[in-house]
């Protein structure tokens, strides 16, 4: 893994590598998602307690997993930036934030729409939902901090510090809300164990969306690398113009 990240540290090589595997990822992801949806709507049985609403689980749970996974990518990238100064670490962190935030929002919305028919309420302040909500705020904070600083190099490092602070506080938040809930109500079990016949479609769905996440992440990284290249070229162009002008003035 170390040598892979080292080999990909060169942006040009990264663009070539990602350009090569992106189409395959996109196709594989589309196929897996399509197959999972087929299983969900035509094969998987209704839950004997929840009925058909369990179908929401097949998009809600993968979204929640990817919400957390996305933040893990950002935390790892931030570590890579601050400790190893990996050249593409910041590109990775910046690209992952909107994608992770989108899946977090999807998890919150699908969770609320699942909760209403299932447990009678759109929202409940249990450890899991509250932590995902806080995770969403952390994502928003990362995006907001980065966009509020003009100096991109500074923004990259400060966002990295924030990401690492966030990853440390998240388990503590979950623990504290958990503890708080045990004080006030018996565990409502806002979760349900997954029956074997449902596990396969769930995992296939998760795999498909994971590949989608990775594909989107790679593409977003490519966009960011191009954007930086354009910016550097524009800066160089202005400098050339300045030099020509000052040369002509003499």
């Amino acid at each position: 893994m170390q040598t892979l990240t080292q080999r990909l540290a060169n942006p040009t090589r990264f663009m070539a590598f990602s350009g090569a595997i992106l189409p395959w990822m996109a196709v594989a992801s589309a196929l897996l998602i399509a197959y999972a949806m087929y299983l969900v709507f035509f094969v998987a049985p209704p839950d004997y307690q929840q009925g058909e609403t369990v179908k929401i689980m097949y998009i809600h749970v993968p979204s929640a997993w990817l919400a957390l996974g996305g933040y893990a990518i950002i935390a790892l990238s931030s570590f890579g930036l601050l400790v190893f100064r990996h050249p593409l670490a910041d590109v990775s962190a910046k690209a992952a934030a909107p994608i992770g935030a989108a899946f977090t929002l999807a998890a919150l919305i699908t969770g609320a729409l699942w909760g209403k028919p299932m447990w009678g309420t759109y929202w409940v302040w249990d450890a899991r939902l509250t932590s995902v909500l806080m995770l969403f705020f952390l994502y928003l904070g990362l995006i907001a901090l980065r966009s509020s600083l003009e100096d991109e190099a500074l923004a990259s490092k400060l966002t990295a510090v924030l990401a690492l602070v966030g990853v440390s506080i998240l388990p503590i938040i979950k623990f504290s809300v958990d503890w708080w809930n045990t004080l006030h109500q018996p565990s409502t079990g806002f979760t349900s164990s997954v029956d074997a016949s449902m596990r396969a479609p769930l995992l296939i769905s998760a795999a498909g969306f994971l590949l989608l996440f990775i594909a989107l992440h790679l593409k977003a990284m490519q966009n960011e690398i191009m954007r930086r290249r354009v910016k550097a070229m524009r800066v160089a162009e202005v400098e050339r113009g300045d030099r020509l002008m000052s040369a002509g003035a003499e």
């Binding site: 509250t130 806080m134 705020f137 952390l138 928003l140 904070g141 907001a144 901090l145 509020s148 600083l149 100096d151 500074l154 490092k157 400060l158 510090v161 924030l162 690492l164 602070v165 966030g166 440390s168 506080i169 503590i172 938040i173 623990f175 504290s176 809300v177 503890w179 708080w180 004080l183």
Partner: protein, 222 residues
């Protein structure tokens, strides 16, 4: 150690001389708590039930108002650069400033809470518990706040952004603060344990926040 104390004394004197910051925080605290019954209706039983939560949240908001100032003035006049290169480690300098914030803003807010509690029909018997939890929890507010202040030093609209960044960090403090008062009001045994956990959260913030804040400051001062 003497450097730490000197910085602490300096910040406290500055806070005393420029009293408007504390005045603003206390004034905001008062206004928010006063508006709440106007918004919720004068049902005294309801107010007394939500009083601890309201007092805690309004305190957090009032503290948020005062946090951007922590490093601003020093950054503007260049003292921050001096602190970054001085023999006293920047982490300790940050700790001194956060401690000064707690003494000059956190403690006054905590002491004002029971007075405002009267407006919310807070049970008088809960006053000692309320003050204890706030004194135990406000160090976390100042120290975790210093992380937000350091990160948003050069950001546009830093004050608003600071609030967004720091609120998730405050969740454990808020939860344990409220729960401790809850134990006191119901008379259960958990009060002491819960208060200790709250103090542990504060101690952890004191230990960890200066490291993160100093790291953020070092990136911006050069």
């Amino acid at each position: 150690m003497s450097g730490f104390l000197a910085l602490l004394r300096r910040d406290l004197m500055l806070a005393v001389r420029e009293g408007s910051a504390l005045g603003t925080a206390l004034g905001f605290y008062l206004v928010v708590v006063a508006m709440l019954p106007l918004g919720l209706g004068p049902d005294l039983k309801l107010l007394s039930r939500i009083a601890p939560g309201v007092l805690w949240i309004a305190l957090l908001l009032a503290a948020l108002l005062s946090l951007p100032r922590m490093f601003e003035a020093d950054h503007e006049d260049g003292s921050l650069e001096v602190m970054a290169t001085a023999p006293l480690p920047l982490e300790l300098a940050v700790a001194a400033k956060a401690l000064a914030h707690w003494i000059s803003t956190g403690i006054p807010l905590a002491l004002m809470a029971p007075i405002l509690g009267l407006m919310l029909n807070l049970e008088l018997a809960l006053t000692p518990a309320l003050v204890a939890t706030m004194l135990a929890g406000t160090p976390a507010v100042s120290f975790l706040g210093s992380i937000g202040a350091a990160l948003t030093l050069k950001a546009r609209r830093g004050g608003l952004l600071l609030a967004l960044l720091v609120l998730p960090l405050y969740v454990p403090t808020l939860i344990f603060g409220i729960s401790t008062i809850g134990f006191a009001s119901v008379g259960q045994d958990g009060f002491a344990a819960s208060l200790l956990v709250l103090m542990a959260v504060s101690v952890a913030s004191i230990a960890v926040a200066p490291v993160a804040a100093a790291a953020a400051l070092r990136l911006q001062v050069s």
